[in-house]
Subunit: 707 residues, 2 copies
């Protein structure tokens, strides 16, 4: 692996040459020269190089690098000339012992032609042969905000005045500048590398440099392609070893994106899945959008939440508190539980009808008392269980929200946990401006703020964080969406099946055996293999209790199975009342298993649940719901709507399942359940066997619960 | 089901009474009275009612509703008094034949006490008994922007001047006002209903009214609870029948959100899964965040894309084009293919190095020619295959972006497809302001814009939309991430297994049979059940070819299986060279199946893929990757990282799999593949049988490909 380049003389350049310097202020050469001469704080000399001039603005201009004074100790040659001339100039640099060249010119591989690619190969070869380091080509240059070195032709550099401890490496120049400027309102950027086509120096070099730079705390990276993954991995490993968090936006998760990136910088996107996996290996925080990269770098610069802490949601509007809690809960962010001290102090400060639990809804009343509002915010942001305070501001209320912004700015100066304001209104009034001026970079939406917090939040939960938010409502239900079988009167499997048979629903032939010999007799009568299932009003999950045996063909197998069921169930559920064992004709193994359920929803009345059954219920939770009664079109739509519908349509050598019979069965169940909705509260058919086309759809297990 | 209320006299009130009117301008009663008297365009009379005054600002004030002049034909009583007095006033309304009352007072169920709940029950009973309709309590009132009726105490109403064809129904007042104001910069709101605790009139009434209102085109709804789902469904059905799209934000997807919503308006959240399913049944566009609701309503007001059209991404920055294409591609938005006319016209207008294909990257060159830039934008937005134009603007470039904004505003006036600007910079300069002033509501981030487009885009794809964007890169790979077995030299299953045995990896005992009797002999030697698999260099997917039979115990079964394999394979792959049939000891059925693969990644070198195997590979694509070589900790982390890791830890009556053996196997494969990385390009072990604890992990099938 090629070692990381020592970028010392690039980053801290003392003397530079501007090849292509121009007196025309609107030209790129003119702007670059002006950036170095007037807007940079270079310690040494700027040498203008251009054969067309002998002087520029009264300063000497040399015809070439070779013609520079012999005592010129140039650290970096900045080159902005026709692409065809670049190689010759670089060779002069080598001869003069100049270690770095930044090539801003275009006309290389990004142009798409053979000529440009050939130029790049020659430059790469020159670097390999001589040790020259080239940054570029086709790039906006390098900006060292910290030391005011603007080796760039960008007219915006003169305003890059606010420096900070964030380092950026971006393959795209325009998006890189967006980040630089966006962060300049907040924590500030120290170094920004943007090396375009990266013919020699590349993102791993820059990450490695910033990992070692004591004045960089957080590294933001935007990549379009990965040239050398092992070298990138080594740079990320270095950053991790040095404790510098890295946030990464890698373009190319979709084919369209990969193609567009390739046509942009001729970079190979690489496999998104592999890239993401490697980023994960090195603790890199991966994001998907530019705004998210900016937010994440910003949040990381304020310090990632400590493990074991939770989020505090704090606002003065009940609806906003509910919405924020919902979005944070759906994202499974841990919610903080306040210490008793915090809770008691909040109770003293807030009105009786405020919500003191997290989420805190101070109600708008508190806004009349600026001191109390500030004090409450200080309390929650200094609670040791709180890792960050999300403060959504639903509206621009003029002076009222101006004061809130003042509180946030004031408390932020000393708070233990960062306060993350969300300015939800499109009116970006003075309150917004005030926070922006103080570097707080308010989010525009709850979802974006929660998304950014989610990617930086440490994965582990802990006692301090209640974690109440982490269980989505859907998970609290049974997979069939059919409640907890609470209350109501469950019928036995045999009774349930009898009821369904009366409703015209076909079920497997079966008999109830009270001992092993009865079981054998039933099996002989049915012929073919059977399944045997324990029947007990006390056992809901028959498989868990060891009460199910499959594929029994001979009398011996049936006897053995009977004994086995009794033994296991006896051990696992010693107090269960046993009604016997159901012996049922077994359907051929080529069927697929689905579930059909109906339950009573408080809001919508009888609702059907359809989804994959058997083991898939637990694992995939792949179900869909529909209000009853159903029409045929709705039944068909339900079957098609589950995520893994193609299991039913047939995968790898399997034909389609009998979708027609499944549709018929769903409609029969719908009609039966809806007609009897006053009597029947819940139906669960799971699994339902669905055979190949023409073979039918038959419930193997059934549970009916009456009101 | 209770019929929908006829809201005619509420929405188009002519005469109103303000109960609690006050001369104090800062009080709620004062502000309400002022809104009606000075800021509304009421056609009739505002009657002030308050026993404390005989006149307010020179106008008469009556002591009670009962005391109003006999000829007063009041349509709506607006009530803002102590909650304890409300019921008495409502009874007076009934006596005087006033059909509607808006109760803004708080002190009801939201206060959490029994008293408040009892007050609500009494009001509900009064409504049921008398036909009086109550809107509220605990609400900010009703705003009819279209006809300038501000039945609200909000001091912001006087600025609600811009009316449009959007209707809003929101349970939360603060968030509703956010929407009203946000949309006032754009398409404008006609009616805003926000009925707080909804003791009588509720969201279904408002949706139904707006569905019938000829001056409302799009309906936005924010709900915290669902009281009567069937009634809500009926209102949504009505909206659908009338062709009015509905965008819905329903709080309560997480437990935390449901709890917070309940404490806010005492509403029951209902099951999020059931709510969403019903919304889906009626074509409701469901969103999760307030900003998303605003954006979605806004996009719907500009017309949803026609089915069969695709997205056009249009920008002047290559990096931005790539990022936008990536985000849209990941969201599986269809990308438009331009007509030949559009493509040719773009080619004439744009420089040679611009990207003409969608995404269009005009390059920054075009920005020097305002007319050409405007013309290009006009071309793409009028292409019949384009359903919407996403125009990301990566930076605020001052005058340059001001001109772009002008182009967008100009073209938007007549373009067939809406242009969706994304202002990615945090500097919201004049260009942003210009678009905002012209009602274009620029998005702040690509991800948000793509998210909103995704929810409104019709689901079907079609010939016009190329759909190139719809296949994520990951899908193009084999599930094992192991490429397409292209190039390289695949070893046969037997050779592959031999190589792995030499590396110390345990495999099932087996033998190769050239005919049925050899197969029987091998089965007899192995004892127990066997699996039989076709061996052919031309057949990669043995199962698909019908070349695999399982669970063969007797000589007859083996003979029959041999014949069956030969027959099916002969039919399905008549030209395949057959080397024989592999007869292999079959492992007990209680194992779980995983896959272990290694392939050579261009960027990262040898990379391992681990995931669920067998049928799960196709269905779940639940795999994870890691660069080789692995340490034990990384191997363990991989096993734990797959989405459905709990299949291995044991679900429903199943114990844990032999994770120790699996870990050992992963490490052995890693070492073998890494040591031999110059020779071996790819390994695929699928399925790998993982038995119960202590039983081992054994690859059942193996494929090794050399470089």
């Amino acid at each position: 692996m090629k070692p990381f380049a020592d970028l010392g003389r690039l980053v801290n350049a003392v003397n530079v040459a501007v090849v292509g310097a121009s007196p025309r202020p609107a030209s790129q050469g003119g702007r670059l020269y002006e950036n170095m001469l007037r807007h940079s704080a270079l310690k040494g000399t700027v040498y203008a190089v251009n054969p067309a001039y002998t002087e520029i603005d009264g300063a000497a201009c040399w015809p070439s690098i070779s013609a520079l004074p012999e005592d010129a100790r140039v650290d970096v040659a900045l080159i902005i000339v026709n692409g065809a001339l670049v190689l010759g100039i670089l060779k002069e640099c080598v001869e003069r012992g100049i270690p770095f060249a930044i090539v801003m010119s275009s006309g290389f591989s990004e142009a798409g032609g053979d000529e440009g690619r050939q130029r790049e190969r020659e430059i790469a070869q020159l670097c390999a042969d001589t040790g020259l380091h080239v940054y570029g080509p086709n790039c906006p240059g390098f900006v060292n905000v910290r030391d005011r070195l603007g080796m760039t032709f960008s007219p915006a550099f003169k305003n890059d005045l606010h420096s900070g401890r964030i380092g950026l490496a971006t393959q795209g120049g325009g998006l890189g500048r967006n980040l630089l400027q966006g962060l300049s309102a907040g924590p500030g950027v120290g170094l920004w590398f943007s090396a375009g086509n990266e013919v020699d120096l590349d993102v791993p070099d820059f990450i490695a440099h910033m990992a070692n730079d004591p004045d960089i705390d957080v590294i933001g990276v935007l990549m379009e392609g990965v040239k050398d993954g092992r070298r990138l991995a080594a740079a990320l490993e270095l950053a991790r070893a040095k404790g510098k968090p890295v946030a990464m936006l890698k373009v190319g998760h979709s084919e369209a994106g990969a193609r567009a990136a390739q046509s942009h910088t001729a970079a190979i996107a690489g496999s998104a899945a592999i890239n993401s996996a490697v980023f994960g290996q090195y603790g890199v925080v991966e994001v998907r959008d530019l705004g998210e990269l900016l937010s994440t770098v910003y949040l990381l610069s304020r310090g990632a939440p400590r493990a074991g802490t939770g989020l505090c949601i704090y606002t003065f509007s009940g609806g906003t508190a509910a919405l924020a809690a919902d979005i944070a809960g759906t994202a499974e962010l841990p919610m903080a539980t306040f210490t008793a001290e915090t809770a008691s102090a909040l109770r003293d400060l807030l009105p009786g009808f405020a919500a003191i639990d997290n989420p805190v809804d101070t109600t708008a009343d508190i806004l009349r008392n600026q001191d109390a509002a500030t004090e409450c915010l200080r309390l929650v942001s200094n609670d040791p269980n709180v890792g960050a305070v999300l403060f959504p501001i639903p509206m621009d209320y003029g002076e009222v929200t101006d004061r809130i912004a003042q509180s946030i700015v004031e408390v932020s100066r000393s708070a233990a946990a960062p306060i993350i304001p969300v300015w939800m209104s499109r009116r970006l009034g003075q309150g917004f401006q005030l926070m922006e001026e103080h570097g707080l970079l308010p989010f525009y939406s709850l979802a974006d703020a929660v998304g950014a917090l989610k990617v930086i939040w440490p994965a582990s939960t802990s006692p301090g964080a209640g974690g109440q938010a982490s269980a989505p409502v859907a998970d609290a239900e049974s997979p069939a969406g059919a409640g907890q079988h609470q209350g109501g009167a469950p019928l036995s499997e045999a009774q349930s099946k009898q009821l369904l048979r009366e409703a015209g629903i076909a079920l497997p032939e079966s008999g109830l055996a009270a001992d092993a010999e009865q079981a054998v007799a039933i099996q002989q009568r049915l012929g073919g293999p059977v399944v045997m299932k324990i029947v007990s009003p006390d056992i809901v999950h028959k498989t868990d209790a060891g009460g199910v045996k499959l594929g029994l063909r001979t009398a011996d197998e049936v006897r053995e199975a009977y004994a086995g069921i009794m033994e296991t169930v006896g051990a696992r559920a010693p107090h269960a009342r046993i009604d016997g064992v159901l012996v049922e004709a077994m359907l051929p193994g080529s069927g697929r298993e689905v579930l059909i359920g109906v339950h009573h929803d408080d809001a919508f009345g009888p609702v059907m649940t359809f989804g994959l059954g058997g083991i898939f219920v637990e694992i995939l939770r792949d179900v869909t719901h529909c209000m009853l009664p159903l029409g045929r079109e709705e039944a068909r739509a339900m079957i098609g709507r589950i995520r893994h519908a193609r299991i039913l349509h047939g995968v790898r050598g399997q034909g389609a399942a009998d979708l027609q019979a499944l549709e018929d069965l769903i409609l029969k169940v719908s009609d039966f359940a809806y007609r009897n909705r006053e009597r029947i509260r819940e139906i669960e058919l799971n699994p339902v066997w669905v055979g190949p086309e023409g073979a039918g759809a038959i419930p193997l297990d059934a549970l009916v619960i009456e009101h």
